[in-house]
Amino acid sequence: MIRHRESATQPACSPPSDTPLLEIRGLRVDFPHVEGGPAIDGIELTIRRGEIVALVGESGSGKTMTALAVMGLLPPEAEITGGTATLDGEDLFTMSSTRRDQIRGNKVAMLFQQPKAMLDPTAKVGTQVSESLRRHRGVSRRDAKTRAVELLRDVGNPEPQRRASSYPYRLSGGMAQRVMIAAALSADPALLVADEPTTALDVTVQAQILKLLQRKRDELGLSILLITHDLGIVSSMADRTAVMYAGRIVEDGVTTEIFTDPQHPYTQALLRASLLESERGKLFAIPGSATQARAIDRGCRFRPRCDTARELGITETCGSAEPTLHACGDHDHHHSRCYASRGYPEVP
């Protein structure tokens, strides 16, 4: 397999341009029949072309719901109660289902957590890889077959010919995810939504898949919305990072800055809880859980678990009104939603 060695050390092979590809503005997703506040509450997220943006947060923070909302795959119980999402200037929430079918696979594709479950056990691997091509590019059955073999070879399949005509049960988890990547990228989409693409894979395979994704970004100028709770992946992959907590983005910014200079107490706690920062043999854990926090309607949602607020003695301020997402410093590439973080307009 040919691979550009320098691409990993220079991720800006095709530098992110400034035109936004995906713009999510004030997205709200509600489960009307479930108690406990909206699952997503006013999310702002922009992804530019060729950019990898990571969405991190613990389980139940609304990462996956955000992805599903973008893909139009929200479960029937969920309801979008506010906000817009535009892909290339096109509103994703108001478009017809026909148009949505045209866009999916063609402009935006998705990777899932359980790659082996994502393949139809009764269809050959090659058929599934080229399904998107057949649908969107009108490729003939025969051409689709040869294209499928090419695509499988491209994602690092040692025996693409044989693999294409075999059934999915023969695939390992890592190989299944490669196949899914080949299928997702076959029609050359501009945006790839990857929902914990490596969580179900073991560590060595995980690294290979991530490298493959990075290579694809470099080759195709692909934008990736990477959803994960693994901070190690974020630090090595993402250009920008948004941290979600209880349905809100609490901090976003350039990845290096988030990791070296986290402003929100939740981000700081997350970093402390990760293996990167933990002292040997002693893993830090944030007490409590994020799920109940959605129900908090006044004040900062992280307040019940926040050490910073307690140390600074500002718990009451935090409880009276929720801080806004504000710029940390005079540049516009780092925001935080905390009274205690740097550059808050009126420090109480």
Partner: protein
């Protein structure tokens, strides 16, 4: 599971012993203790626990018997000893002889030849009906599950209504309106016969719809009809196929019943049901006249049912419980050195 009263395993229960030996999960007990000899886990309830698993030879026996029947029926025009309609009135109701292996009927026609030609009608009509039923049932069931809403509701209530009536009664009603004939016969049996397929297909489709690979297909931009017929139907086909085989015997018997009532295959053609009707007055004196067509129906229906049962019990061959190890690690290995 509550422990049942131990039953002594004796020579009359060879199956109980066999089952105990074949169940590695059975708790190991000291060989001389009474529980070891009379394990409550083996025996009568074994089949219940195992979901009535039929023995492994069902498929082979069924397939063999059906193949024999089909070959005979296909070759009938060449191997039948007599013209099935030729009446030799001097030889009426003759017993089996060298010339007429199965004797003759009340009009002096050769019973063996009539059995062979009659089977062609019985089996063809049953098979045609079955295929139509399966296709209509699969399409309507898949649509009901795929579209949901009012269409689903209407279709399934229609199925409920049709299921309420015994199919022979509905078929009689339709034949009474439209008159006898092969078309009417097949149509009448199809109208009453598609409902179990639709129900099965709908249930399977609803289950498959929640599978992740359906979501993946949606994400690739496949329209709903495509997903239904490309991904949902193929994944449901195995149980539907098994049911088709199980329903075939039922169809064969229904066709026979209608002919027996004089509303199925009409003279001069004849099928097994019509032969039964002809044989009825002579049942006491010449029992083979009735036994032979009855046996033919029975053997054919049984063979197909055995195939169906065998298919149903077979584990999905394309899936393995340890599929995670199916791919040798070497498949990933060439990539390990690729990255910096």
């Amino acid at each position: 599971m509550p422990r049942r009263r131990p039953r002594p395993v004796t020579a009359e229960h060879p199956r109980a012993q066999a089952a105990e030996v074949a169940t590695p999960a059975a708790p190991a007990a000291p060989a001389d203790s009474p529980t070891a000899r009379a394990s409550p886990r083996a025996g009568l309830f074994d089949s219940v626990r195992g979901g009535f698993r039929s023995p492994p030879w069902t498929l082979a026996v069924g397939a063999g018997a059906l193949a024999a029947v089909v070959v005979i029926l296909l070759l009938t025009p060449w191997i039948a000893p007599h013209d099935p309609a030729f009446q030799e009135l001097s030889q009426r109701l003759a017993g089996p002889s060298g010339d007429h292996w199965a004797g003759t009927d009340h009009l002096g026609r050769d019973v063996l030849s009539r059995l062979m030609y009659g089977g062609r009608f019985s089996v063809t009509i049953a098979a045609a009906t079955l295929v139509l039923c399966a296709v209509i049932g699969i399409v309507l069931g898949a649509l009901a599950a795929g579209r949901g809403g009012i269409l689903d509701e209407l279709l399934m209530r229609g199925v409920d209504v049709l299921t309420c009536f015994p199919d022979v009664v509905v078929a009689l009603f339709l034949i009474a309106i439209f008159g006898t004939g092969y078309g009417t016969l097949v149509a009448a049996l199809t109208i009453t016969g598609w409902t179990p397929f639709a129900r099965l297909m709908r249930g399977l489709a609803l289950e498959i719809k929640s599978k992740e690979y359906i979501e993946a297909a949606e994400v690739l931009g496949c329209p709903r009809w495509f997903i239904v017929f490309r991904h949902i139907v193929p994944n449901a086909l195995r149980p539907v196929l098994a049911m088709s085989f199980l329903r075939f015997g039922h169809k064969l018997i229904t066709v026979g019943a209608l002919s027996y009532l004089g509303l199925g295959v009409q003279p001069p053609d004849s099928d097994w049901g019509a032969m039964l009707l002809d044989a009825q007055p002579y049942m006491e004196r010449l029992p083979w006249l009735g036994v032979l067509p009855g046996l033919a129906i029975f053997v054919t229906a049984l063979s197909v049912t055995l195939i169906g049962q065998g298919l149903e019990n077979r584990k999905l061959p394309r899936r393995r419980p340890d599929a995670g190890h199916a791919e040798p690690a070497s498949a990933e290995a060439p990539l390990k050195g690729a990255g910096p």
